[in-house]
């Protein structure tokens, strides 16, 4: 007879309406044997009582339905972002509110590097800085001997020092798009878009492929999840090659790895039939902690980059409409092939023209190849209105909403991209729930930090960085938000029968919290401490 462990907690929030709260949960073989009080598992034989979590509040392990594996290994680089942020080891890095603090903090970091080692940074967001633009002159204050390259948070721009410019051969004579020059004709150090960044990245060893799929990258992602209370996490545009599978299996099979990983294969530009065959073959190789078989489609770009495809009247001020990463005809063909083959899709749609095309494509495919429980998921859904959510209900489509955008970019959306009226109904979780759609909420980490409680806070309060409430009519309640980051997200991954609530038969995956998110002030939801997780009954503490 396998061991039975009965965990005692200050409170267990089960998300199971039949027994919303409990004080004890019994675990056997990694699964929930019983939920209730101290005696809940006594009928099953001898039990071992574990009181190590007695002061904590337990919730179902949180589920992040849209994040990227590089959220872990990005921390191989020095953090240069505006907001305070925690690394995979739990260390807080101070935000850098101005250029002086960027230079000061990175100069301190520079002293820790070996001679000749490049200083690589990430996360810089000068959109929040007033005044002077970051240039090589600032970065030369950090070092003139070693290359310094700082990637911006949007991954479309970087700034480098004179040494790095020199290594890439960039000088007055360079005539290349994206190599920004000053009034005297010299490169400023700012490089725009990959073509201009690539020569530097190549020479300083800034290799983005190494931020995913390697053992270190996978483990680091697991640590990030554990510290956010997340027990099931996606890698929502996995570029895994067949050769990467063995590493993924080895790492996730390790009982010490604290997350269930759901790599979702990116398919842009690929042949639909080949993609479908590969997805199905990967699906057959899924394991307890490695769930394969779904695919991700790109459609448009981002709203804050003015590259999302938005419906009439477009961007405020008449900016040109965005760009398609897959043409609508290609989207239709890919969706049709996936639907026919029985491959679940996650479809990136930021603008409402992109979501309209994706919904149309699924409707077409559904007419040809009926599949009622396909549970395709629209991802981001930032400009979708009630009309589109209603169509999602009709077609059985799920929505995963980018609530973190409200806080991080809400002010910019109101002022610069879609204007006040449409910004107030962006990421419309209220409309989605009222329409009856299955809703999840996400961070898109590392674009914004992984932290479902923060994401839930965004959806509940809709507060922006300037402190205003952006569209009070779209606020949802705390219980609704907690459902979205547990069962809601589990549903989009077709795992709601296994995870997402604490009830008998499900996997023993819990978030260990320092306070009760259902009783704190809704404005304090983001401040509820995460102490760690339990995965398959095994405790992982931060």
């Amino acid at each position: 007879m396998a061991d039975i462990t009965v965990f005692k907690a200050r409170k267990i929030i089960t998300m199971d309406p039949n027994r919303p709260e409990a004080t004890h949960v019994a675990v056997r073989e990694g699964r929930i044997l019983a939920v209730g009080d101290a005696t809940c598992a006594d009928a099953w034989g001898a039990v071992r009582h574990d009181d190590s979590l007695k002061d904590a509040v337990l919730m179902p392990g949180l589920v992040e339905g849209h994040a990227h594996m590089m959220a872990g290994a990005m921390w191989n680089f020095a953090y240069a972002g505006y907001h305070d942020r925690m690394d995979p080891k739990g260390t807080w890095w101070k935000g850098k509110p101005d250029l002086a603090s960027v230079v000061r903090d990175l100069s301190d970091y520079e002293k820790t590097l070996a001679p000749g080692q490049p200083l690589l940074g990430w996360g810089l967001d000068p959109i929040f800085f007033a005044g002077e633009r970051l240039s090589r002159k600032h970065l030369d204050q950090i070092s003139t001997d070693r290359p310094v390259a700082i990637m911006f948070s949007n991954f479309h721009l970087m700034c480098v020092n004179s040494k790095a410019l020199d290594m890439a051969g960039y000088d007055r004579a360079t005539n290349a798009e994206g190599v920004v020059k000053d009034a005297h004709g010299d490169p400023t150090g700012e490089l725009q878009e990959m073509a201009a960044m690539f020569p530097v990245m190549r020479r300083v060893g800034m290799d983005f492929r190494g931020l995913s799929q390697t053992e270190g990258a996978i483990r680091s992602y697991g640590e990030v999840c554990m510290r956010a209370g997340v027990t099931t996490v996606t890698d929502l545009y996995s570029q895994m090659e067949d050769a990467d599978l063995a590493t993924l299996v080895a790492v996730t099979d390790d009982p010490g790895f604290p997350a269930r990983l759901v790599p979702v294969l990116g398919v842009a530009g690929s042949d639909p039939d080949q993609v479908a065959a590969r997805a199905l073959s990967l699906k057959a190789q899924s394991r307890d902690k490695l769930r394969l078989g779904a695919v991700k489609l790109m459609t448009d770009g981002s709203i804050q980059g003015w590259t999302a495809r938005v419906k009439w009247p477009g961007y405020v001020g008449g900016q040109a409409n965005g760009i398609w990463n897959m043409a609508p005809a290609e989207i239709h063909r890919m969706v049709d092939t996936m639907q026919r083959a029985g491959v679940q899709m996650h479809i990136h749609v930021n603008g409402d023209e992109a979501s309209a095309v994706a919904i149309d494509a699924i409707a077409d495919a559904a007419r040809h190849h009926p599949w009622q429980d396909a549970r395709h998921v629209l991802q981001h859904c930032q400009l979708m209105g009630m009309d589109q959510f209603v169509r999602c209900v009709e077609l059985g489509i799920c929505t995963n909403i980018f609530s973190n955008h409200i806080w991080y970019f809400g002010d910019q959306h109101a002022a610069l991209t879609v204007g006040e009226d449409r910004a107030c109904r962006m990421n419309a979780a209220r409309a989605a729930l009222d329409a009856g759609v299955h809703v999840a909420l996400h961070s898109d980490a590392p674009v914004t930090p992984l932290g479902p409680l923060f994401t839930a806070w965004c959806a509940v309060n809709r507060q922006t960085m300037s402190g205003r409430t952006l569209g009070a009519a779209q606020c949802i309640t705390v219980p609704e938000a907690l459902h979205a980051i547990t069962l809601g997200a589990a549903f989009t991954l077709k795992m709601d029968h296994e995870i997402g609530s604490i009830e008998t038969g499900k996997r023993a995956d819990f978030a260990i919290l320092g306070d009760d998110p259902t009783t704190v002030d809704p404005m304090a939801l983001k401040d509820v401490p995460v102490l760690g997780t339990v995965l398959d009954g095994r405790v992982h503490l931060g």
């Binding site: 051969g169 020569p199 043409a327």
Partner: protein, 300 residues
């Protein structure tokens, strides 16, 4: 990632753009089969429509096909620029890199790397235009802007499916967007000269076969030009020329490496000292004479 070695010649990069179904893959199939004498590395999105006869194949695995003529065709995976880095790190380094842009992509975003990266040479943007469908696509409310944008960035416009000649309406519409030469792909003319350039003066290789459709011009002389003077000269080149490439002596420094494709001229400092100025140019047999080219270069 290994550090670039300046001992190697620059790798010319040509980007093939054009909407889905325009004929990019057909063009690449033709390029891979032609006897052009160059070790070309072609990167495509997927092998779906790449069609190489078994007797031309040395080997084929999941993502790479090696051909008997020294060419290699591979899929680029999700990260195009990292794949470009891998191409540069290949030893021996290929003679030419051709990248197939995806159907909706802006080929200029890829080709820009050839201007920025010191180890790459600009080999131009060839956009394939489907004569049957392009006009309708260009007016499509959803994708029209991107379709027109591809043409606007092209150095060479390769017109496919124009049996019986390029329709004047299409030709005029393209000309309004781009000054690039419009080249009808309908005949059986070799495509390698268009995509790779005629012959390789940098290595002294002979021209790969005779191409009756094209006029070739080769020049060797003692001209010494500053960058500004050279740029001025190239801007005056006959409009009909498809390509010019070569090495030009400079009053100071090692000299210049020149790549002209359509109306785009790229000048980079040569990697080794240039002893004599050597140029080759390529244009349509029907549209230009050797004399015209020679007169332009000699300054008349």
């Amino acid at each position: 990632m290994s550090l670039p070695s300046s001992a190697l010649p620059r790798l010319p990069l040509t980007v093939v753009g054009g909407y889905l179904g325009a004929g990019k893959t057909t063009l690449i199939n033709r390029l891979l089969r032609e006897d052009h004498g160059q070790r070309v590395l072609v990167m495509v999105n997927d092998f779906g429509a790449i069609n190489i006869d078994a007797d031309l194949l040395v080997s084929a695995d999941g993502d790479t096909m090696t051909l008997t003529n020294g060419c290699v065709c591979c899929t680029m995976g999700a990260d195009l620029f990292m794949a470009m880095g891998d191409a540069l790190d290949r030893r021996p380094r290929p003679d030419h890199l051709v990248i197939e842009a995806s159907g909706i992509a802006d080929p200029a975003r890829i080709a820009a790397a050839a201007r920025a990266e010191p180890d790459l040479a600009y080999g131009g943007i060839a956009v394939v235009v489907d004569a049957l469908h392009w006009l309708a696509l260009a007016d499509d409310p959803q994708i029209g802007a991107q379709i027109r944008g591809q043409v606007a960035t092209a150095d060479l416009l390769l017109i496919s499916k124009a049996e019986g000649g390029v329709p004047p309406v299409l030709s005029a519409r393209l000309a309004a967007l781009s000054a690039a030469p419009q080249i009808d792909l309908a005949d059986d003319a070799a495509v390698a000269p268009l995509l790779l350039g005629g012959l390789s003066p940098l290595r002294g290789k002979p021209e790969g076969g005779a191409h009756p459709a094209y006029l070739g011009w080769a020049h060797e002389g003692d001209e010494v030009l500053t960058r500004e003077a050279l740029a001025g000269k190239l801007s005056q080149a006959p409009q009909a020329l498809y390509r010019i490439k070569g090495l030009v002596c400079a009053p100071e420094g090692p000299g210049w490496e020149v790549q002209v494709v359509g109306r785009s001229a790229e000048i980079k400092p040569a990697l080794d000292a240039v002893a004599r100025t050597r140029l080759v140019a390529l244009g349509p047999q029907a549209g230009i004479t050797r004399d015209q080219v020679a007169r332009w270069w000699s300054g008349c």
